[in-house]
Symmetry: C2
Subunit: 449 residues, 2 copies
């Protein structure tokens, strides 16, 4: 690599302020137990720290990146950072959708338009729209759709539902919230430094050699299989035959697939957009999804989960009943204003307007993919997801991350943050303004040539 | 009691549709394990049901009430139901607040106004406003405030944080989410039919005889003390000396108080509005609160938690660090539009406008309190909370609930739903339109005289 820090000073889609300002806490020795230490700290409760929280590795990946980003900003206050790290949408939301939200907000000031608590499961009109538009001809019923405040929150609720007694498998690399939420509920077991894996989690390797689809013939049975398609971080969408094999595998093993389709709207080929396109999936799968990347709702907060009535525990009890109970007890429904926006997203005009944003991000992805490809790098993803997954064989991904940040002022995500299978890769997001993508491509070409 | 069902047919603040339509599920024997049963059901996974989910009693209280309400609606399709059950706000939100939300929504359609992910902890301006306005002179710093989607969600996140290894105490009667979330994380132990209590939970009796404040001299030490003031359901606000005793008790025992101040804005005397008015509380307490009842945001979804930096586990580790991690891993922040509304609530004009709604509900409470008092019933609460807590000595509260529903078409909440200490009481909500309160008072007087 060779690069002189670029002198150009533009492209700051976000204010420079850190999303995660560091907590200014008194310096504390984590496992301080000596009376001396405690006396220095002042009062300590007698409440033990939850051992599962102690098992969490470092910070959560994205906050960790933001901390490094903030440190970089401090070091180079005048550098124009380009953020292709966190997959954060940048295109404005079509007016037809925001005006529906504005109208709902204003209606809350009127006697006729005011509403208080909605159904915890979401408004029926939105649940019906999701069933009828997103799941058209896929056999999903409106009362199997639970509207949420986003897929990440649903992952956590599903982990709470299933408890610490279930075994899980994740793709490797994988979106970190699946692993971290499993650690928190006490399922993951011990972290093994030598493998970079948690003892009780099955890691299903996904790499170019297996077309980013796990070798199910060697995958041990687990109760739960987290499966994200199109995949974050690799960008790979499972094909129909692949998903059929996965459903068959789950059925044979009595497993539950937790299918994350948050990026389904980015699929540009004939890969299934939902696990429920596969016959029999309703007996083995839950699907979580989101308006975040589909509609630019990362800040508005809206998603959903589909829990089919046919999905049952080993004792025959329907899982939907327990999920409903979790939603009623641990959640109180999504914001009514966000739900009005969700409904507008699924209208014909709303949907059409959103397709233009998705096309825009696809074009961004092409720019990034081309930049790396033109330099001779192997780059994956991009076609069915807004992420490029770039291979740096034999290199530490945090080292590559740091180097690109330090020298090109471009933020990416180190593959190792997604698990041991991500080592040697970085994830580059296609979310961003066009001019930033072009400038990032220019800097990267200069750095990497 | 004597009552002919009233013939008047008005007062339906909400549409008659059920907030909780019953799931139309195939009939299933819960613990069906025989092969015969399973064959009838079709495919069952081999995933065991989480034993903690099996421990949950019946439905969650409020969904259970809504089911009975829906059944009542079916039985009396022309009766005009008055809903004084679930504490659901009915007054429109002041325009100054909804217009701030509408503006934020519309700004999301512009290049300059679009924002994606916010800080998981909430926008800094809102965190500062909460610290400066709600906690003025109470020593709470902005970065100790975590904006949320409501107190109920925070309860669940706090339970997830603390895990199943901690012991808890609740007021009895108590808001059910404290107990139910403890059951879900596996802390509550066995339910004992003979006492109506969970084995591992300490129930702190709160009743007229002890001024609704627990006798701490006989309360065993627990790791966590859930304390709600002003209380839901009893309506009692703890006085300053009482809260001082509670803080002292927690400090001596090394306990953490989870203080729920969701109804603080209803305090009309000099009771503390926050646990942080008590010196030393920052070393022993977390406070959760909400815009729901303060601003009519039950459907908009916005709340907060305050976790002081001085609050530590037994090993000296600051709890705020783990809470921050939970918020980043299991939550992705509140809706940016709701947050814009929250900021407007805390502006001088917004706050003033909201006081008028609170006065309105206080006047409603007076009407309900007077109706019961004039009939010779002992009635508590009302003054510092929007709930009347009415005593029916020696009677089953579900029976009283059913009778009032059946004969007066008025929905209340049976005290027993809040724990064994609620038996013999009903909770009557003061949320509702004035004409409904007057009509409810008329019907109740007729029924109960």
């Amino acid at each position: 690599m060779s690069l002189h820090p670029p002198s150009s000073r533009f492209c700051m889609p976000h204010a420079a302020s850190s999303r995660h300002p560091k907590l200014s806490l008194p310096r504390v020795i984590c496992n301080a137990t000596s009376e001396n230490n405690k006396a220095r700290l002042g009062h300590c409760t007698k409440v033990p720290r939850n051992v599962t929280m102690e098992s969490l590795r470092n910070g959560y990946l994205f906050p960790e990146i933001l901390i490094r980003e903030a440190e970089h900003n401090e070091k180079y206050p005048h550098a124009k950072l380009i953020k292709l790290g966190i997959g954060d949408t940048t295109q404005p939301i079509p007016h037809i959708i925001t005006s529906a939200m504005a109208q709902k907000a204003l209606a809350l000031s009127t006697d006729i338009g005011y509403t208080g608590y909605g159904d915890e499961q979401g408004n029926r009109d939105l649940r019906e729209a999701i069933a009828n538009v997103v799941y058209k001809d896929k056999g999903v019923k409106w009362d199997e759709v639970f509207v949420s405040d986003g897929a990440q929150c649903d992952i956590s609720r599903l982990r709470m539902l299933l408890g610490s007694g279930v075994t899980i498998a994740v793709q490797d690399p994988t979106f970190p919230a699946y692993v971290d939420s499993s650690i928190i509920v006490g399922q993951a077991g011990k972290f093994l430094e030598e493998t970079g894996k948690f003892q009780n989690i099955v890691y299903m390797r996904c790499c170019p050699e297996n077309d980013f689809f796990p070798d199910l013939t060697t995958t041990p049975r687990t109760d739960v299989i987290f499966f994200c398609s199109p995949n974050n971080p690799t960008g790979a969408a499972a094909s129909r035959p692949q998903l059929e094999r996965l459903v068959e595998f789950a059925k044979a093993n009595g497993s539950i697939i937790l299918h994350d389709s948050a990026y389904a709207s980015y699929i540009s080929d004939d890969s299934p957009r939902s696990i429920f396109e596969i016959p029999g999936a309703n007996e083995v799968a839950v699907e979580i999804s989101s308006f975040s990347k589909f509609a630019g709702f990362t800040g508005v907060r809206l998603g959903w989960a589909v829990v089919p009535k046919e999905l049952r525990y080993s004792n025959g009890f329907p899982i939907i009943k327990d999920f409903n109970r979790i939603v009623c007890t641990c959640f109180n429904g999504s914001s009514n204003i966000a739900q009005a926006g969700g409904l507008a997203c699924l209208s014909s005009d709303g949907h059409q307007a959103l397709c233009r944003s998705i096309d825009y991000y696809h074009e961004n992805a092409d720019i990034i993919m081309d930049a790396f490809a033109s330099l001779g790098f192997k780059v994956y993803g991009g076609k069915n997801a807004p992420y490029a997954w770039v291979q740096f064989p034999g290199r530490s991904s945090w080292e590559v991350f740091d180097e690109i940040l330090e020298r090109a002022h471009v933020v990416t995500v180190p593959g190792a943050g997604f698990g041991p299978g991500g080592e040697g890769y970085i994830r580059v997001s296609a979310f961003g303004r066009r001019e930033c993508m072009l400038e990032a491509a220019r800097r990267l070409k200069y750095l990497l040539k």
